[in-house]
């Protein structure tokens, strides 16, 4: 073992500083949001609160949880995420399995048809008109069906099947007279827990965070996912009247409203982002696996 030279030790220190720099610029805004959500809005807005919470209050969270819109949004998002992910898997897994089989005739053509759509597509308006003509607008299906499958995820899953499912196992089952369906459902799927987790997470996160399709396809507020409600509160800065309980329009009330709007803002960010941020470190290896399988070809 060669002893690390002096220049290498200097390198190590500089590198650590660099990594700490990345960590700090990423973690600071996140800490700030947490602190701001439980601090007195006066301190937050004046800049007196800049790292740790001051004059702790849970008013923001209380108001958020009292807000009916947010609850409806939450409920809808959970539904879209669970049901949507289920549909995604039901489309992706069988297709990827078929594509992973060497004895599938026309595989090259089918792959070509799918991959081409990654580089060229009809675009926003023709897709929008199609969904409209299928009478899906303003129904839950508009958020579930037009995104039923992502070609990239099919490719990743296909690669997984090719690499991990032993061909001998399938052949043995075939000799024993098992049908393709049986092989897929009873042999391949039980061996595929990792890829099901990976795909479930990828699709699940995209459902949870998706707002654009809801924006263009939905007009009924009862169907709105959480992200659209957040857009109203955070971007358009509309605070639902019931949250604010605004009586009269005197200056004090307006000031009060601004304060409440501000405290709600940070609480709402946490309520929406927290589930993913808390869960993801535990599932990190699955996410990484997904990215890595995807890069096998690259």
């Amino acid at each position: 073992m060669i002893k690390p030279s002096k220049s290498d030790r200097i390198f190590d220190i500089c590198n650590k500083i660099l990594v700490w720099f990345f960590i700090l610029i990423i973690i600071y805004p996140l800490i700030y949001i947490i602190s701001a959500s439980i601090s007195n809005p006066t301190y937050v807005n004046s800049g007196a609160m800049w790292l740790w919470p001051r004059d702790i209050t849970f008013e923001g969270f209380r108001r958020v949880f009292e807000n009916k819109e947010i609850w409806i949004g939450y409920r809808n998002t959970i539904f879209y995420t669970l049901f949507g992910t289920f549909i995604n898997l039901a489309f992706t897994l069988p297709c990827a399995y078929a594509l992973s089989r060497n004895d599938l005739k026309g595989r090259g053509i089918i792959m070509g048809i799918m991959v081409f759509t990654m580089f060229f597509e009809g675009g926003l308006i023709p897709t929008y008109l199609l969904v409209k003509n299928l009478h899906m607008t303003n129904t839950i299906w508009a958020l579930l069906i037009p995104n039923a499958l992502a070609v990239w995820n099919v490719i990743v899953t296909t690669t997984f099947f090719r690499v991990t499912i032993p061909k001998g196992l399938e052949e043995a089952a075939e000799i024993d007279g098992a049908s393709t369906f049986r092989i897929f459902f009873q042999i391949v799927l039980p061996l595929s827990a990792p890829i099901i987790a990976v795909m479930g997470l990828f699709y699940g996160v995209s459902h949870w965070n998706q707002y654009f399709n809801a924006l263009i396809y939905l007009s009924d507020e009862n169907l709105f996912p959480l992200q659209l409600i957040l857009r109203k509160i955070l971007i358009m800065q509309e605070v639902a009247a019931q949250t604010v309980n605004l009586q009269g329009t005197d200056v004090a009330a307006i000031g009060e409203q601004a304060k409440i709007a501000s405290i709600i803002k940070y609480a709402v960010m946490i309520v929406s982002a927290a589930p993913l941020l808390i869960v993801y470190p535990f599932l990190q290896r699955f996410f990484l696996k997904g990215v890595l399988i995807g890069s096998i070809k690259g």
Binding site: I2, S5, S7, F11, D12, V19, F22, I25, I26, P29, L30, Y32, N45, S46, G47, W50, A90, F91, C95, A98, D103, G108, M111, I113, V115, T117, F119, F120, E121, G123, L124, I125, P126, T127, Y128, L129, L130, P146, A148, L149, V151, V154, I155, T180, F181, W208, N209, Q227, L230, L234, I235, S272, A273, L276, L277, P281, Q284, V291, S295, K297
Partner: protein, 329 residues
């Protein structure tokens, strides 16, 4: 490279056919043999069917719908019954006073983003050099986290932080006697905020793929270089960087293919009437006049123009990359 599945598949098929010829298998009439094949393999196609139907309906039917770009859409007649107008919609776009502004904004935002491509590479190289495994893990977990914040919350954060009177950024600038600056409504700031905030959100996640490539580098190269007395920095430069070069090229080509499309959902959220000069890009314009104003033909034409340019750029850069031996196909 990443997309070469179809090629391999086809090559294998030809190879199999050649093998068949060599072994002189009696040639059965083609149609018959395929029916026979279907008899034993139809279930494979059943497994494929839902996905294939989805692709055809939701990807290829809209492509067919692109003919709208060459028509004058009348709701009563539908897409297919509306009269043809040739390239009128395109000419109208090319001659519109905002045409060059849209192109300029679209290209500038994406080129700006593209120049920053070394950031995730630097993150990966530097994470890769950490000797302390636990610290490395924690650093990775933290840097990946922003990837999971939704666009809506993320833009909400930007608006809150950059607010001229209550935002923390302006308070900090105030301590140094600068500002307040109304970042979100100042057109001059839009691109910088958009691009750098995007880097903040993706710098860790973007590094994953490079970290994977780094893990694949033969450790013997490093051992040999160590024996030769190469310093850490030199080993990064002469071993690690060339080792991940193919990955860098592939990702750059893919980015090039998106040169005119990146991140429009985020732009849409960051837009306001005051920064439109700098924030209106082709795709948000398509949304404005298509979805909001219902000018379907015109907006389809603009969208098609955008898609074709993207496709051409992708092919062009892929061709260049192929000369270096690394390409998508």
């Amino acid at each position: 490279m990443r997309m070469n599945l179809p090629n391999i598949a086809m090559k294998k098929e030809t190879r199999m056919r050649i093998n068949n010829l060599k072994t002189k298998t009696p040639l059965i009439p083609k149609k018959n043999s395929f029916l026979k094949y279907l008899k034993t393999h139809w279930q494979l196609y059943v497994l494929l069917a839902p996905a294939l139907i989805y692709i055809i309906v939701f990807k290829y039917v809209p492509m067919y719908g692109l003919q709208l770009a060459f028509k004058d859409y009348m709701p009563s007649k539908g897409i297919f019954g509306s009269p043809w107008v040739g390239f009128d919609n395109f000419l109208r776009f090319f001659h519109a006073y905002y045409f060059w502004d849209l192109i300029k904004n679209t290209l500038l935002i994406n080129l700006y983003n593209l120049i920053l491509f070394p950031i995730p590479i630097i993150v990966a190289l530097s994470l890769n050099e950490l000797r302390d495994g636990r610290f490395k893990k924690i650093a990775q977990t933290i840097t990946y986290a922003p990837h999971f914040i939704s666009v809506v919350v993320f833009v909400g954060m930007l608006i809150a932080f950059l607010d001229p009177s209550t935002g923390i950024v302006n308070h900090v600038l105030g301590w140094f006697g600068i500002g307040p600056i109304s970042f979100m409504t100042e057109p001059g700031w839009f691109k910088t905020i958009f691009v750098w905030s995007g880097q903040w959100q993706q710098l860790g996640w973007g590094a994953i793929i490079y970290l994977a490539a780094l893990a694949g580098i033969d450790p013997e190269l490093h051992e040999a270089a160590k024996v030769d007395g190469a310093s850490r920095l030199r080993r990064i430069w002469h071993i690690n960087l060339p080792g991940i070069l193919p990955t860098i090229i592939i990702l750059l080509i893919l980015d090039m293919g998106n040169l005119m499309s990146i991140g429009f959902e985020k732009i849409l959220l960051m837009q306001n009437p005051l920064n439109l000069d700098s924030s209106q890009v082709i795709q948000t314009y398509v949304y404005d006049i298509g979805i909001l104003n219902g000018q379907y033909s015109y907006s389809t034409a603009i969208g098609l123009f955008n898609a074709v340019i993207n496709f051409i750029i992708l092919i062009f850069f892929n061709r260049i990359a192929r000369r270096t031996g690394t390409s998508l196909w």
